[in-house]
């Protein structure tokens, strides 16, 4: 992915090695109510049955709008958010079933980079102790002195001077903090890094620094990335393959170039058409598919195809009552790795079906809004103080 050519795995050459196999993962958060005894009155279906595989050495981009469950899925893969159902097979071990010490030691292989670099670094720890801590926890170093050479190497890898070691997180700029976060993830020699919105909290000019850094590190250390982001342009730039999520499930999955060249799902089409492009000529001539209405509440998702309430191609049959599965479609020029969850993908692509107006339905988000933006997890759901 550091080169200009994005090679679609599975399209050519040998079958790539699978590093992570996510099978039917669901994360449902109970909604509790009650004065003395908590009673479960419903569920937020944050992730509702996702299958995907991540190949060794690739970058898999997970994209979608807030509330689609992409961050929760990222955390479920690390078992930071225990999946309600499903398996996450990593190197032959089901991470989702691990607990306690077995899970803790397994964490060495899968690391995470967070969105907000300031809040994800303990404000009372110096950079040195932040970086040494993980190495100690996994027996890679006994103490800070022993870890010194490795620390220098890590800082060099993320482009920070050695003086940074004695500093504290609040003394750095946003981009520098994110570099520390990345160095921390690297400190335990992981195989997979889950990056949750790694650049969205940064200034535009700094975003590019971090994106380039992630690319360089991947090449240098042979890392595999799962990048979770809402910014399609970033995901498209950094990823080899992309999965598009809508209301807890994948609606389309394809190699980055294929997805952009030939989006098959109506939601992907709308999403791609909505991204502003910093080029007035392109902006003046492009056609947008404006979606009406808002994202339905994940605690009460629509039946059938989750997108049917906003879909300009919705049909009388199937869309409302039959949930589409990810499938390979038989369209010329669409490669095997391109999967889409739409009953009418072929007809839409051929132009047989034309978009129509959608009457916007007002959604009352108060139910889902109180649960926090991207459905952070049960801690924030039930224990909001």
């Amino acid at each position: 992915m550091t080169t200009t050519e994005h090679e679609a795995p599975g399209a050519a050459g040998t079958e790539p090695e699978v590093l992570v196999d996510v099978q039917g993962v669901k994360v449902h958060f109970p909604i509790k109510a009650g004065v003395i005894l908590d009673r479960v009155i419903g569920y937020v279906y944050a992730v509702d049955g996702v299958d995907l595989t991540i190949h060794k050495g690739e970058t898999y981009g997970l994209v979608g709008e807030s509330g689609c469950g992409k961050s929760t899925l990222g955390r479920a893969i690390l078992n930071l958010e225990p999946p309600t159902d499903g398996k996450v097979i990593f190197d032959g071990v089901d991470i989702a079933s691990l607990k306690g010490e077995a899970l803790r030691t397994k964490r060495q292989d899968i690391q995470m980079v967070f969105q907000d670099p300031l809040s994800s670094l303990d404000p009372r720890q110096s950079v040195e102790s932040l970086l040494v801590e993980g190495m100690q926890a996994h027996g890679l170093a006994k103490n800070a002195k022993e870890a010194r050479p490795r620390l220098r190497e890590l800082l060099k890898a993320v482009g920070l001077p050695v003086q940074a070691l004695s500093k504290y997180p609040h003394e750095f700029s946003g981009g520098q903090r994110q570099r520390i976060g990345i160095a921390r993830a690297l400190s335990v020699n992981p195989k997979l890094i889950v990056a949750d919105e790694p650049v969205s909290a940064l200034d535009v000019s700094v975003q590019a620094q971090v994106i380039n850094l992630l690319e360089d590190l991947q090449e240098e250390y042979g890392l595999t990335y799962l990048v979770v982001a809402h910014d399609l342009a970033v995901v498209r730039h950094i990823s080899d393959r992309i999965g598009v999520m809508y209301l807890g499930s994948l609606v389309e999955e394809a190699a980055a170039a294929d997805l952009y060249a030939q989006p098959l799902h109506p939601y992907t089409r709308a999403l791609l058409s909505a991204v502003p492009i910093p080029d007035p000529d392109v902006e003046d001539s492009r056609e947008q598919i404006l979606l009406t209405g808002d994202l339905p509440s994940p605690s009460n998702p629509p039946s059938g195809c989750r997108f049917h309430t906003r879909c300009p191609w919705r049909q009388e049959t199937r869309c409302d009552d039959e949930r589409p599965q990810l499938r390979v479609v038989a369209i010329d020029g669409v490669v095997e790795g391109h999967r889409v969850a739409c009953h009418w993908a072929e007809q839409i692509e051929s132009g047989e079906l034309q978009p129509h107006a959608v009457k916007a339905i007002a959604i009352d988000p108060s139910a889902s809004d109180t649960l926090g933006g991207d459905l952070m997890g049960p801690a924030s759901l039930t224990e909001a103080l």
């Binding site: 994005h6 709008e65 700029s173 000019s205 000529d281 392109v282 492009r286 979606l291």
Partner: protein
Amino acid sequence: MTSPANDRRKGSDTAPLLTVDNLTVTFQRRGQEPFRAVDGVSFSVRPGQTVGLVGESGCGKSVTSLAIMGLLPKRGNQVTGTVDYEGTNLLTLSDDDMRDRRGKDIAMVFQDPLSSLNPVIPVGLQVTEVLERHRGIKRKDAMPMAADLLKRVGIPDPNRRIKDYPHQMSGGMRQRALIAIALACAPRLLIADEPTTALDVTIQAQILALLKELVEDTGTALIMITHDLGVVAGLCDEVNVLYGGRIVERGDRHPIFREPRHPYTNGLLGSIPRLDTVGERLTPIPGSVADNLPWDHACAFAPRCSQPVEVCTTNTPTLEESGGRALRCFNPVEVAR
């Protein structure tokens, strides 16, 4: 929702509605050195024109808008220069006079719609409040007008939604409601400060389409404050790029995107991945705003610049106008993108 660009250049010879001249905002905090957040910013906006103020955090774009609106706290902030709105310098108006202007002549849309709306008052009432205050319309008569406004900004079922509280609306709906409040008195100038930053991209597209339509249909002047060059490319007629509190480059959107002359503008364009081009390696701007030099004796951007020359660290560049563009640079970028 596409619109030919030539349509939107209408009124290019009409007189400016608002002219900001040499606007300077200095923060004076106890125990700290004075800090110039906005440093001699000048620009103007005509009816029906959309002017963009672009830059990253700390470039002074939001402070500029607050200063125009007279919303900066008097304590600790020193505002100089002139903000001329049809012959009146807004900076010299009394608080009461300014309050009358706000909402009626100039309205503002903020980034975070939830915190900008009053959480304990139904949205409809927040619209009628403006109508009552500025146009002296009775509440009974204002209600249907409020419903009309909500309908105009694309809120479905407005007669029912008018009684909703802000928390009962989604982010996109709230931003629409906020725009409805801003439009209540048909202001001739609208200032939108990052109006879509908190929204999802599909909702952002809806809001941008709404703003575009508004400018085209009613001839409202729009000052668009954003960090997103994509938004600017689609919406703004004129673009002002701010860095360290000063305008470093100005021009119409086509030339500025096609031939950015300031290394900062060029660097920004090189920093953003584009959806429509195959993954070339990005060319980031090194460092962060913490590396800036003070403008007094240098170009603030020099340490991060891709092509600094000696004079950049010894002299202050001035904003030179030529051929409809303005540039503050000793060693501009020559190559077209």
